[in-house]
């Protein structure tokens, strides 16, 4: 073995010819990964982070033009044929993909798939030995009852379990390098925390180096040794994780760090929006690609692209003003000053009339079998008796993992029909006994903004028609509509001329602004925001979040803000309700709940959220939950959380008995309410 680094990427470029011109996805990146090192590559979608790692694995489509060199222990990987690379893949370099469902073959058992990887690289291995090893690997990655589960098919596993299987396959041959491409993006936070833990374990066991590719700064902060930030196909900053987080030197990194809401600072300061969008990779200007969005650009920035300047301590940044930033002549707060906070108007008092009141809302879906003669075999308790209240001018954050019933809740509100049980009152009117015309006029008061701005806008209508659509219902004239559309475009910060264009011509952030403008068209009193920023790139989220805060203050709106991202909720909400399996488990003032969560689930949820601050991350004690969210069809007696509850495990048997038999109701504890019998015994410390 030579003293060459484990992996060395030299001036790697990847481009895809597109007719006459080409998309230059990766433009000359160089980095090294040492034995056992954990490198995080951070970038937004389209920054080239995935393409560069695919190039290393030799997995790019044939039409990709790859130049530069990739050396594994000094030996070049590029230009080898597929057969040679196949021998390396899995054995020396292993890859973990984002979507574990499509990365596993549905027709083979997971055991077979692990064994396949083993036997491919070790022909002497017997079938028997391979399956024994498969069981062992499943145990390592924390799959319960591996002897039984080894014979299961991928569809019998949940998303988190599948990702564990992927990790098991990746470490099966004891690789020297594991490339994980957004391994936790498709997963819920509590599952994400589990998977990152498993990945760390796998790394320690095999001694492999890990390259973790992600868009989430929080994920790398707690795990990586070194990080590399990519922008528009280039590395713009590299360095040790502490250096980059505490002393970022490239304005893009500075902006990114200041634009992300995090649990520690959220709600106290405003987010710093990073204006504009990344450049088109097929038509790059000659200068620094970040120059159009950079607040400290100087004329020289447009002439040539700055190289990666090596600064002190192994820290490099691609910015001609990096030395100024390093010396402290330019502070981060000068580069991206925090915007002025909006005046919040009058405080929300409890005497304010509620815009939305939900009491004892129930929505059960029957599970049926049989094509002709339907037979009910169970019930999905999507929403199982919840109470919520949104007062005028207030933001209620509804938080929970996927499958907890938050989407069903908002659909029930928006349908405005009589619920199965309980009541929904909007602006003081019970929706159960509305006449047709009353319902239509009440719809003016409640509008929705969806998660995916592309899916929420009809691709065949112009932006003007999309925004004006709610007005067609209420019989406004064409002239009136046009005037209102212009007004709304103004309100959300878009130009009037954009109203004749189609949604696909806009960036994600702009599309979400269009969605917000449409929701505001009828002057609603309540906006239902269904994960409004989770589909957007991090640098764009801040702009949309700030817009929502401004609009709330200017138009005195109330929001029902549904999200799985706690930091985002902390940023915008006044009160918060945490949902688990169709129930509210904890609710109260957002500051109180986040500072002193009482319910063990809330505590686990909060400790699972990664914080983009390496120091804070390292000092945190994680409360990891066992297993996955149970299926909502399961009949669970007593507290529906007791199977995963970290508190339950440390209680004495008589108290445990209470958890198993008695269904806890929400009760006031200090200033918040939580649905847990044993809050007083809770010694778990989140954050």
């Amino acid at each position: 073995m030579t003293d060459a680094p484990l992996l060395e990427v030299r001036d790697l470029s990847v481009s895809f010819p597109q007719g006459a011109d080409e998309v230059r996805a990766v433009r000359g990146i160089s980095y090294t990964v040492d034995q056992g090192e954990f490198l995080g590559i951070v970038g937004e979608s389209g920054s080239g982070k995935s393409v560069s790692s695919m190039a290393i694995m030799g997995l790019l489509p044939r039409n990709a033009v790859v130049t530069g060199d990739v050396l594994l222990r000094g030996e070049s990987l590029l230009g080898r044929d597929d057969r040679e690379l196949s021998r390396l893949r899995g054995k020396e370099i292993a890859m973990i993909f984002q979507d574990p469902l499509s990365a596993l073959t549905p027709v083979y058992t997971v055991g077979d798939q692990i064994a396949e990887g083993l036997m491919l690289h070790d022909r002497a291995l017997s079938q028997q030995a391979a399956s024994v090893r498969a069981v062992e690997l499943l145990r390592v990655v924390g799959i319960p009852a591996p002897e039984r589960r080894v014979k299961a098919f991928p569809h019998e596993f949940s998303g988190g379990m599948r990702q564990r299987v992927m990790i098991a396959i990746a470490i099966a041959n004891d690789p020297d390098l594991i490339i994980a491409d957004e391994p936790t993006t498709a997963l819920d936070v509590t599952i994400q925390a589990q998977i990152l833990e498993v990945l760390q374990q796998a790394k320690e066991m095999t001694g492999a180096a890990v390259v973790l590719i992600t868009h989430d700064l929080g994920v790398v902060a707690g795990n990586a040794d070194r990080i590399a930030v990519m922008y528009a196909g280039r590395l713009v900053e590299t360095g040790s994780v502490d250096d980059v987080f505490s002393r970022p030197e490239m304005p893009y990194t500075i902006g990114l760090l200041r634009s992300v809401p995090n649990l520690v600072t959220a709600g106290r300061t405003r987010l710093v929006p990073l204006e504009g969008r990344p450049p088109s990779l097929s038509d790059l200007p000659p200068g620094c690609p970040f120059e159009p969005r950079c607040p400290i650009s100087v004329p020289e920035c447009t002439t040539a692209e700055p190289p990666l300047l090596v600064l002190g301590g192994g820290h490099s940044a691609a910015c001609i003003r990096a030395p100024e930033i390093e010396s402290g002549a330019l502070q981060a707060s000068d580069v991206f000053p925090r915007p002025e906070p909006v005046s919040l108007g009058s405080e929300i008092g409890s005497e304010q009339e509620p815009v939305l009141t939900i009491e004892g809302l129930v929505r059960h879906f029957p599970l049926t079998t049989g094509m002709v003669f339907k037979k009910q075999i169970g019930t999905v308790k999507a929403v199982d008796g919840i109470d919520l209240q949104v007062r005028a001018g207030e933001v209620l954050g509804l938080v929970g993992e996927s499958g907890c019933g938050k989407s069903t809740t908002i659909l029930e509100v928006l349908e405005m029909t009589r619920p199965q049980a309980g009541s929904i009152r909007i602006a003081g009117r019970d929706v159960a006994d509305l006449s047709r015309s009353d319902r239509l006029s009440l719809r003016k008061d409640v509008q929705i903004v969806f998660q995916d701005p592309m899916a929420a806008l009809d691709p065949r209508l112009t932006v003007g028609d999309i925004i004006g659509e709610p007005l067609t219902v209420h019989g406004d004239s064409k002239m009136e509509r046009r005037r209102r559309v212009a007004e709304l475009l103004d309100l959300v910060g878009l130009e009037h001329s954009m109203s004749s264009r189609y949604p696909h011509e806009f960036s994600g952030g702009q599309r979400q602004r269009i969605g917000i403008a449409r929701a505001l068209a009828t002057n609603p009193r309540l906006l239902v925001l269904d994960e409004p920023v989770s589909a957007l790139d991090v640098s764009i989220q801040a702009g949309v979040m700030n817009l929502l805060e401004d609009l709330k203050a200017r138009l005195r709106l109330s929001y029902l803000f549904v999200a799985h991202d706690l930091a985002v909720v902390r940023q915008i909400a006044d009160t918060v309700a945490v949902m688990y399996l169709g129930r509210i488990v904890e609710t109260g003032d957002v500051g109180e709940v986040f500072a002193r969560p009482h319910h063990p689930y809330t505590q686990a949820l909060m400790s699972a959220v990664p914080i983009p601050d390496p120091e804070a991350e390292r000092s945190r004690e994680r409360i990891l939950l066992d297993g996955d969210l149970p299926s909502p069809t399961d009949e669970i007696s007593g507290c529906n959380f007791h199977g995963r509850c970290p508190l339950y495990k440390i209680l004495d048997p008589s108290r445990q008995q209470q958890c198993v038999t008695e269904d806890p109701r929400l009760r006031m504890i200090d200033t918040t309410s939580a649905a847990c019998h044993h809050v007083e015994q809770n010694t778990l410390q989140p954050l």
Partner: protein, 310 residues
Amino acid sequence: MAIIDPLSTSDVDVTAELVDSRKAPRNSSRAALIWTRLRSTPRFWVGALVVGAMIVWAIAGLWITKWSPTDQDLINSSVGPTASHWFGTDDIGQDIYAETVSGLRRSLVIGLIAGPASTLIAALVGAFAGYTGGRADAVISWLINLLLVLPAFFILVLLSPVFKSLSFLVLTAFIALFTWMVMAQVIRAQTKSLRDREFVKAARFMGVGTGTIIRRHILPNVASLLIIDATLGVVAAINSETALSYFGFGIQRPQVSLGVLLADGTPSATTRPWMFVFPALVLVVLLFAVSLVGDALRDAVDPTSGSTRD
């Protein structure tokens, strides 16, 4: 039948994300993309030119001959192609060229009305059933299945005494009424998936009515399917009409269609082939050309489809 899914026809590859998120200005709408693909398909041009030429011929073909379809040239009955009778004449001296042009005209009119009409029925019924769901959907699905199992040809034969005495438009309407079911099922399935899309939900929560949602959001998003179906429906309608007329249940003399001419020419196909060959040739060329256009359209809309529709 090809499964065409207009919602997921984009080719997903590594470049898609990059190109997609950048949206270069020339990467324009879907319609433009389809047109670009269509333009580069020779099949489309061949088919379109031939169909165009046949339409022009059907309109203008009688102007250039001195014979009308009903004229009888008793001196020159049963003769082969000559300078005067380009396609020859039949037993009673009628000019085959004039009859063929006139038959083509009728067949084209029937095809061009019945094909799109059946698509229209399919679109409205399918979208309504798929969007409203519930009981209406169950009833409509049951009706579609019933119509599918009924032997359409046999029913048209049974009904033929009714429309023999009426205009050929009644026959056209009946053909349309018996050919919309398969497409209606496709549209129904598409609508069901569109109904769960957020822009449709958003419209519903705004209070937009069912009719407006179907017209504004559902139909434009399945338009490409409908265009293909209407094109291929022309072929199916002409085929049905020809078959009915061939057996004497469709168009009746003195009106002629290509089916009537084929029926009249069949007994003498071996002895006096011109009576059979010319109408048959026209029919085959027409159907082939329309199919080429339909095929090219389908491939342009959905590049992954390879098989043909029934």
